[in-house]
């Protein structure tokens, strides 16, 4: 018998980003995978197969809804239509978690389908907190906010990223989603210590951890430039950073993100199994 009550929070166990091509195997051979995450915007149609699959999966797994299109860091007002769509989705699905990004993607009513960076200033802080208050009031629940991958910085920034996120959490009551691969990518690109970032991060506010693969490139000066691509396995230094994080935070829900060049199910499940091993090493 299904225990639906157990689906009201994400377990401190591995999850994966759901891809429709894995639908049959996920239910037949879930292996280490205990929960699933979907991109909210892919389930905002009126019906058909996507919604039917989501209904089916949500009976079996705890679900996380991860928004990629609200543009919380946008200079303009939040899109009221999109807020209403999020409210509708979160309302009928009643997922264990809802998360979005410290980024913007919409400007002047154009949506750019990417997570764009913003300066960390008192002005942007106030705007983001206002947007998160509006979102949390609209959907009637607490959200998690995710740290970005950075390829550049803003000269005008006056806050460090961990302090900025901690302050947003303090002011709005939102939780945080810690993407350990993003920390590694940003630390390489902007030359800071990834462990130092984790040390400064308010780990008690973390409701979920993300892991994903990245690509390697170079900047104008031949220095490494890592790109958050979600198109391959998680690299060893990122697994090591996960261990470092979990040792300090205790067990957390850990998600494998693989959005491009999506592999066969056994490859993705093997990544989840590796996350399960990392979680087993952590004292509860």
């Amino acid at each position: 018998m299904l225990d639906t009550a157990a689906h009201d929070r994400l377990p401190a166990a591995p999850g994966v980003g759901y891809k429709p091509q894995h639908f049959a195997q996920i239910t037949a051979e879930p292996g280490s995978v205990k929960w699933l995450e979907i991109h909210a915007e892919n389930y905002m149609g009126d019906g058909g197969r996507p919604i039917a699959q989501l209904r089916h999966l949500s009976e079996r797994f705890a679900m996380s809804v991860h928004g990629v299109g609200l543009s919380i860091g946008g200079e303009g007002a939040l899109d009221a239509d999109h807020l209403a769509r999020l409210k509708h989705l979160v309302g009928w699905l009643n997922p264990a978690s809802f998360s979005e990004h410290l980024a913007w993607s919409t400007h002047d009513s154009h949506f750019y389908n990417d997570l764009l960076p913003l300066p960390y200033t008192d002005t942007s802080l106030q705007r983001i907190c206002d947007h998160i208050d509006e979102l949390q009031d609209t959907i009637g629940r607490r959200m998690l906010l995710e740290n970005p991958s950075s390829y550049l910085a803003f000269a005008e920034s006056t806050w460090s990223e961990p302090e900025f996120l901690a302050e947003i959490s303090r002011r709005t009551g939102c939780g945080l989603l810690l993407d350990v691969n993003n920390v590694f990518v940003s630390a390489t690109n902007l030359d800071f210590s990834p462990q130092g970032y984790i040390d400064a991060f308010p780990l008690d506010k973390v409701g979920e951890i993300h892991l994903g693969g990245h690509d390697e490139d170079e900047d104008d000066h031949g220095r490494p430039l890592l790109i958050d691509s979600h198109g391959r396995e998680v690299v060893d230094p990122v697994w090591a950073l996960l261990d470092y994080t979990l040792a300090k935070s205790g067990p957390k829900p850990v998600l494998i993100e693989w959005d491009n060049d999506v592999p066969d199910w056994p490859v993705l499940e093997a990544e989840a199994a590796r996350a399960a091993t990392a979680l087993e090493r952590v004292p509860a």
């Binding site: 200079e75 949506f111 300066p119 550049l152």
Partner: protein, 251 residues
């Protein structure tokens, strides 16, 4: 030095623009190539979206031409909402407006068909009536009946063999398109949308139903336009496509 989102997006969408001052690397040097990551991400993700939205157009044009057209399209028509499943609504008219594509006049209607299939895929679910429910009506009453059609149902009228072109590029061994006008019905019997060529007058009849005509009123319009209109064949296509979701007979 603050960088506004207007400045950021302008430089992101036009590689001829300088990278905004105030975007830096970790040594406070200008960001340079690092900014190209965003230029590239946006162009690649929207180009990929166009390829998955219009696979037949991409096949007809070839990858390189499709990439080039998508690059122009995404700058003229960036998405207006985060629902990428519906991106590309202006693509049919865009294709028809391209001078160098004038000799491929059918592209616009093929793109309309691909859009219709995607909309049908995401359309609301609706339970179909059984053929028996329609068959049980006496002929007089049948003519005085309104039909409710499923939200997935769409009709495309074209002076080109748009259904045959679509089939030829998606089905192994499909016949080569013959030059003829074709109207297409899109239905979604379960989860997968199906396009079918309509008999003459069929599109007119279905569109009349959608505007609130009874079966008989719509029949008069269709028969006036084309005396060979085959009501039975058109009705059968709707029933097979699970496209009729309600019946309402006059008094």
């Amino acid at each position: 030095m603050s960088v506004t989102q207007t400045e950021f997006t302008r430089a992101m969408m036009d590689a001829g623009q300088p990278v905004p001052d105030g975007l830096i690397d970790h040594q406070a040097q200008p960001a340079g190539r690092r900014f190209s990551v965003y230029r590239n991400n946006v162009a690649v993700s929207l180009t990929d979206a166009m390829h998955s939205a219009f696979p037949v157009i991409a096949k007809l044009l070839g990858k390189q031409n499709m990439d080039g057209l998508a690059g122009i399209y995404l700058r003229q028509h960036p998405p207006s909402s985060p629902l990428m499943m519906f991106y590309g609504e202006h693509f049919p008219a865009f294709l028809e407006g391209m001078q160098q594509l004038k000799h491929l006049g059918y592209l616009g209607d093929v793109a309309r068909l691909e859009l219709a299939l995607r909309r049908a895929y995401h359309a609301a679910d609706a339970a179909p009536i059984t053929p028996d429910a329609l068959g049980a009506l006496p002929p007089d009453q049948l003519m005085n009946t309104w039909l409710t059609l499923a939200p997935a149902v769409q009709v495309i009228c074209s002076p080109w063999p748009v259904h045959a072109i679509w089939r030829f590029n998606t089905e192994d061994g499909a016949p080569k398109p013959e030059p003829q006008a074709q109207d297409v019905l899109v239905t979604r019997p379960e989860f997968d949308p199906i396009p079918q060529a309509l008999p003459l007058g069929g599109a007119l009849w279905i569109r009349a139903l959608m505007k609130g005509a009874t079966i008989g009123e719509a029949l008069e319009q269709a028969a006036a336009a084309d005396e060979t209109f085959d009501l039975g064949a058109t009705l059968a296509l709707l029933l097979q496509g699970h496209a009729i979701t309600g019946l309402d007979s006059k008094g």
